[in-house]
Amino acid sequence: MTNLWMDIKHADVITVMGGNAAEAHPCGFKWVVEAKAHNNAKLIVVDPRFTRTASVADLYCPIRPGTDIAFLSGVAKYLLDNDRIQHRYVAAYTNAGYVVKEGYDFQDGLFTGYDPDKRDYDKTTWDYEIGPDGYAVVDETMQHPRCVMQLLKTHVAQYTPEMVERICGSPRDKFLKVCEIIATTSSPERTMASLYALGWTHHSKGSQNIRSMTIVQTLLGNIGMLGGGMQALRGHSNIQGLTDLGLMSNLIPGYLNLPIEKEPTYADYAAKRTFKPLRPGQVSYWQNYGKFFVSFQKAMWGAKATRENDWAYDYLPKLDVPTYDVIRGFELAKQGRMSGYVIQGFNPLLSFPNRAKMTEAFSKMKFVVVMDPLQTETARFWQNHGEYNDVDTKSIQTEVFELPTTLFAEEEGSLSNSSRWLQWHWQAQEPPGECRSDIEIMSGIFLRMKEAYRKDGGAFPDPIVNLTWNYAIAESPTPHELARELNGYTLAPIEAAGTQLPAGKQLDGFAQLKDDGSTACGCWIYSGCYTERGNTMARRDNTDPGDRGIAPNWAFAWPANRRVLYNRASCDPEGKPWSEKKKLIEWNGKQWVGFDVPDYGVTTAPEQGVGPFILNQEGVARLWTRSLMRDGPFPAHYEPFESPMANLAFPKVKGAPAARIFKDDLADLGTSQEFPHVATSYRLTEHFHGWTKHAKINAILQPEAFVEISEELAREKGIAKGSWVRVWSKRGSLKAKAVVTKRVKPLICDGKPVHVVGIPQHWGFIGHTRKGWHPNSLTPVVGDANTETPEFKAWLVNIEPTTPPSDAVA
């Protein structure tokens, strides 16, 4: 989230699209209810189903799964056509006037530089024109034919209300009503909060779904404002933390990148990441990239990372492909090219697309290690559970370890929530049986390997035997010791903010980081979480000056305890808040003061002209993203990889052209002749993924798998309420009870009805609930071009009445 949960109460309009917060984030959604009750806010819900969120909306508009870009491009067109944008904000704080290089173009659904064999773009033309002064050329009148504003107008021109209705199945009158309400927030006094979740990310163009709304929010001047922002409602309790800490193939903590093999030296790596301002005087966090990186290397390898050895640059693995994400990992496993998987608190057998492929992949591995507080299907993929997991146990030669771990009540530490708060929690009971913490288990494995490498040698032992391990009890590092490493500390005396800091002290924040080896820091954005004054994540002062919904002394928010990102943009260029009612910070003539930590130089005067978006080289928000997205600088409508219709916007291009799909997975796609209906997966408020099927109350509340279909589809297929149905795709089949409901209605797209089959995702073959199938039995293996997030929200199925599974209760 750019803002935070409580801040939603300031919104005048709340759009929930690509999510179902009332169901999936109930206690956060209370702030939407608060905004409706006490701020007269209007709630808009755009969703294929009439969800629990829709049930309390002021306006509900249906949409066909996978067509959000067409819808939102239509909204952007409405704002531009009707001149409903925040003019001063757009002129001063966005790249609307930036002139794009000659050669860039968009024709027939493709941007310049497409290579169909590689399914990738040569992005060299996707950049600004650079003037003789070395800076980007800007036309402040926004009239230049190649400036971003003019390109945007052309780009969205075809998404008329008629086109939106044909593609999305959203009735024109409802779509226009949505546009009208959203447009009211172009006033500097009014803001819209956009709430989204996996309903946007689970697509082959998920990142561009989010980009589409970002364009709308930027045109309206809603970013950086109280009650505005792009609110990513993350999934798990610490998915934000795991992302921040870079537990991915290609990341280093704090959103630094792992080197690729074509960057053989630190100099090559650093040269590509040196911050070059695109406008005069522009500043950025990223000008400190070297400080963050060197401090990370020092946290990892201490005295072994020296200037002479490029800060142990060779200790880091170098990538030959963009990522070894989990979709690639299990593709390699299916090909027999993986030996094993070590899995912490994760149930991939029921989390990744194409269950049959997952089972095959697991069965081909030599070993699988699962650490979990619960018995998972993954740890038992080799067990035969009748039709729910029909495998030939004896033929599976995989060694499997099921290691019992502690859970939240049995450990202390911090979790990062959607608001970027790092909150500490404490231990309430001892673990049952022989459970151990993940920290102890990973330490146990690592220390054994380290000893073996020290004693017997082996492949490149250096980064293992030299890893920093300064813990009082080597086998059991404490959360406090680890948090202190994340925060960062001095290795030698440093000069910081005019004062000397001796060696061995905790840092106050990332501003003190050095690139000369005198500081170590595990994750620069977390610096400030555990200082010499103590553990700031454990702070519990809930006072909220000015009733801003910020509570600045509760826990710690990254970066630098800042609660609303880009808050400089809440003021006009002169430093006066756009809205006195929504004041966050302001310029008092000498410095920036207010309720929040300024996202800006504290003494940088407005007249210096430094842009408010200091994470960007331009200093402004991007309506057009240069070459930063793999699949295009603007979002464009493409159909899901399995879709019931042609691409009306660009008939020559059906699916997202730069989304990655492996050969066998491409062959495993179905057609709309065989599979005429659109399926979408989702969550229920009574369950959390597969965990709560192990909790009795939740298993009683939602005991049994079901699918939701419209009355029309039920009639067409002869399906009675509550009867058993079989739903199948090109990849697999499942059985469930049919819920026939008015909440799902056929969508009329280009004159023809499209039926939606809704499939919740909480059942498996272990736990207290009845046995059932996860929608991953059916879903296609294709990932978003930028994130490799699988397309779980739009694919094709067929449905028919069937007999109950053999063990079914009546």
Binding site: S249, G340, G345, A409, A428, L482, N535, I697, T787
Partner: protein, 198 residues
Amino acid sequence: MTVQVSRRGLLKGLGAGLAGGTLGALGFGGLEPALAAAVRPFKLAQMRETRNTCPYCSVACGVILYSLGDKSKNARSAVMHVEGDPDHPINRGTLCPKGASLLDFVRSETRTKYPQYRAPGATEFKRVSWDFALDRIATLLKEDRDRNFVAKNGDLTVNRWTTTGFLGASATTNETAWLTYKTVRSMGALVFDNQARV
């Protein structure tokens, strides 16, 4: 920071003080112990309160865990009740159907309790010791890493290991995640991911 103040304990203390004062002044001094014994004590008043956060979604509601056991050397503590933390600025004491039933997650019958091992082709898990499991896993990892580690691609130093995958858990703490990151990356592993994609 870890001082636990029990609201119910505080109320109980105030009640006892009042009873002593008022009843004592009225001349019922001798009855006081009998009266105190007759009042059924609040069950939760006996318990320790621990501040925690809900482990499910990313709202991160504050929860109070009530547990038996005073943390003395030989006493095992056990969570008996869970409720929303009224001081928490987001949930202000409320919980959803998932958070409100956390106790059933903590006490689930299908929790893992002992390390188990399934040999190739076996039809059952077998209970094993931690040492057996960790020794064997470390051996498997080292064997695979030594066999498949790629130090060079032509002239380029690449130092990568791509034949064993690792998945981090997005309900573990940041501190756990950091330790996982450190150990996995030090091995040069690249097949590394977490739930961020699903």
